[in-house]
């Protein structure tokens, strides 16, 4: 059996090898990320069937928890790890030709670091370790946002940095408080000692966690950095930030709320938070004329939907939320990747500049359309089963208030549909492009796009491939006792 720690080690070591290789082997540097992420993908997929049956616990320091740091590779972790390595792999293929200007090696190194952080967060069983990986993720994403050195990127990165660091400080305070209370950093151990959240001492850490992780996971009103950062970064980075980074925040949030605190009494609040995030995100996206900013706001909206689904708090609801996470990871990275070359060819991020692209870049345009359809939740694309599950889970609660919430969520979806359809119309049915500069994207960009499209359609038609892992992931989140037992075995 492959040791799951390789999932973290491989990208981490590769990230540090890349700058060294920069001295002689510049040409092949860019092939390392696809290789590493491909390796990660294979490892994750090969681990998945085993993990669904029994989670794998790896002791890092050689001694068992609660004293040593451990990795807890459960279904949830492996689901996230699969999606991270999949999206990471696809985006790195895309980057082969796309990233040309600027510090190429640094880009690749930072990219791998970001994915290291993300993988580490989802696999670790130790709260401080989670924080460390979280910081790796954050710092590398600050750097990636600003790495081109352009005006917009630098500005966004600085703003992102201030807000993100404030958020991580809050998390650190919460960790300190929890450590002071329980004297342990292992999540399972911590969870086993928390009986209820009603005491004030537990309340503060929880609030600090929500706020701190809310910044990275872009919950309203903590998401002010997101539209700036996602829109000014290069498209590959936007794809990875939107597809992976913010979801990792959600993962951390869910771990804390469900596993450590078992705080089921704040779920309704979480739902409300998700709803507000969704509505604000969709409304803000509605009147955007900058395509990447629009996609960024749409990410906020989708995060709201995921948080909303998590807030339903039932097995089915959380499965739906995780499904929506997968949907969004695939669809939004597809959208960012397709717009990447469209913007590159058009020379502007304005939606009006993309008019008539349907003729010049037919495959890219079709892929964009499919991504948008999927995000809106139209069958037969992947967005439909996830929306299906969320709606079902909310209605299964049989409560009037929940139906009102659901109606608002679906209203948000309608707005989302409106602006995506506007872009689709612009691409296909507006304007004529006379200039010959716009041509179809290169093969290295089309292959990842086609892989994503096939995945989106395939899973959309046959969602069963995901249901087993989703169900056991949701069970892992809901079953605290099981988690504690497994981790402290």
């Amino acid at each position: 059996m492959v040791n799951p720690i390789l999932l973290i080690i491989a990208p981490l070591s590769a990230a540090f090898i890349i700058p060294l290789m920069g001295y002689g082997l510049k040409r092949i540097v860019k092939f390392i990320p696809p290789l590493v992420m491909g390796f990660n993908l294979v490892v994750s997929l090969s681990l998945a069937p085993k993990v669904i049956k029994n989670p794998i616990i790896v002791f890092l320091g050689g001694f068992p928890p609660p004293f040593g740091i451990n990795l807890y590779v459960g279904p949830l972790g492996i689901l996230f790890s699969c999606v991270i390595s999949l999206v990471g792999f696809i985006v790195s293929i895309y980057a082969l030709n796309y990233i040309k200007q600027g510090a190429e090696q640094k880009y690749h190194a930072l990219y791998l670091l970001l994915l290291t952080g993300a993988t580490g967060i989802v696999l670790t069983g130790d709260i401080f370790n989670l924080f460390v990986f979280y910081e790796i993720l954050c710092i590398s994403s600050y750097a990636l946002v600003g790495y081109t050195g352009e005006k917009a990127g630098i500005e966004s990165a600085s703003k992102y940095l201030i807000q993100g660091s404030l958020g991580s400080s809050l998390i650190l305070i919460a960790i300190a408080l929890l450590y002071g209370k329980f004297g342990t950093l292992n999540m399972a151990d911590m969870a086993s000692r928390i009986d209820s959240v009603h005491t004030m001492e537990l309340f503060f850490p929880l609030v600090l966690f929500i706020t701190g992780m809310g910044v990275e996971s872009a919950i309203f009103p903590l998401n002010a950095w997101l539209p700036d950062a996602h829109s000014s970064a290069p498209s590959t980075i936007s794809a990875i930030l939107s597809g992976i980074a913010i979801k990792i925040g959600i993962y951390a949030l869910c771990r804390v709320i469900f596993t450590i605190f078992g705080a089921t009494d704040i779920l309704q609040f979480l739902m409300l938070l998700g709803l507000v995030t969704l509505l604000v995100g969709e409304f803000s996206a509605f009147s955007q004329d900058n395509i990447k900013r629009m996609l960024a706001y749409s990410s906020t909206g989708q995060i709201g939907l995921i948080v909303f689904a998590m807030g339903v708090g039932t097995q089915y609801g959380i499965s739906g939320g995780l499904f929506q996470f997968t949907t969004h990871a695939l669809s939004k990275s597809l959208l960012f990747l397709t717009t990447g070359y469209m913007i590159y060819r058009a020379g502007s991020m304005k939606i009006s500049a993309l008019e008539g692209m349907g003729k010049k870049m037919p495959l890219t345009s079709v892929a964009f359309t499919i991504g948008a359809f999927s995000l809106i939740g139209l069958p037969p694309f992947i967005g439909f089963p996830s929306k299906f599950m969320i709606v079902y889970s909310v209605l299964a609660r049989q409560s009037g208030l929940y139906i009102v919430f659901l109606a608002l969520v679906l209203a948000g979806t309608v707005i989302e549909g409106a602006y995506f359809f506007k872009v689709i119309q612009a691409i296909y049915f507006k304007g004529e492009r006379k200039d010959d500069r716009a041509k179809e994207a290169p093969l290295s960009a089309l292959i990842p796009v086609i892989i994503l499209v096939l995945l989106i359609i395939g899973i959309g038609i046959y969602p069963k491939v995901l249901t087993s892992i989703l169900d056991s992931s949701a069970a892992e989140l809901l079953d605290r006792i099981g988690y504690i037992k497994e981790a402290l075995k």
Binding site: V132, E155, I162
Partner: protein, 119 residues
Amino acid sequence: MDFLNNYIFYIGAFGLIFIGLYILLTRKNLIKLIIGLSIVDTGVNLLIICMGYLKNGTAPIFSRKGLNPETMVDPTPQALVLTSIVIGVAVLAMALSLAIRLYQHYGTLDMRKIKEQKW
């Protein structure tokens, strides 16, 4: 006095955190904001350290005879704080380098004037 003895570190830690927050909320210059962030970080580090602090404690070395395990200081927070300081430094370096580039672009560090990315 006893109160002060027991809680002086907490007061100090949270005091630093609030000072940092105050700076973040009121100052507009990016450098000052970074300083504020750094102060918050210091406060948090102090908080972590004082979680394991014992008055009149001893080093946590079991192999040396004569040291009572009861009075040993918890070593974990110290390990944590080391990590945290390193992270803090990394963030600080990142922030400062971004500030330099920002100044090159805008000729100012007043965040009220750097508002190109909005809406």
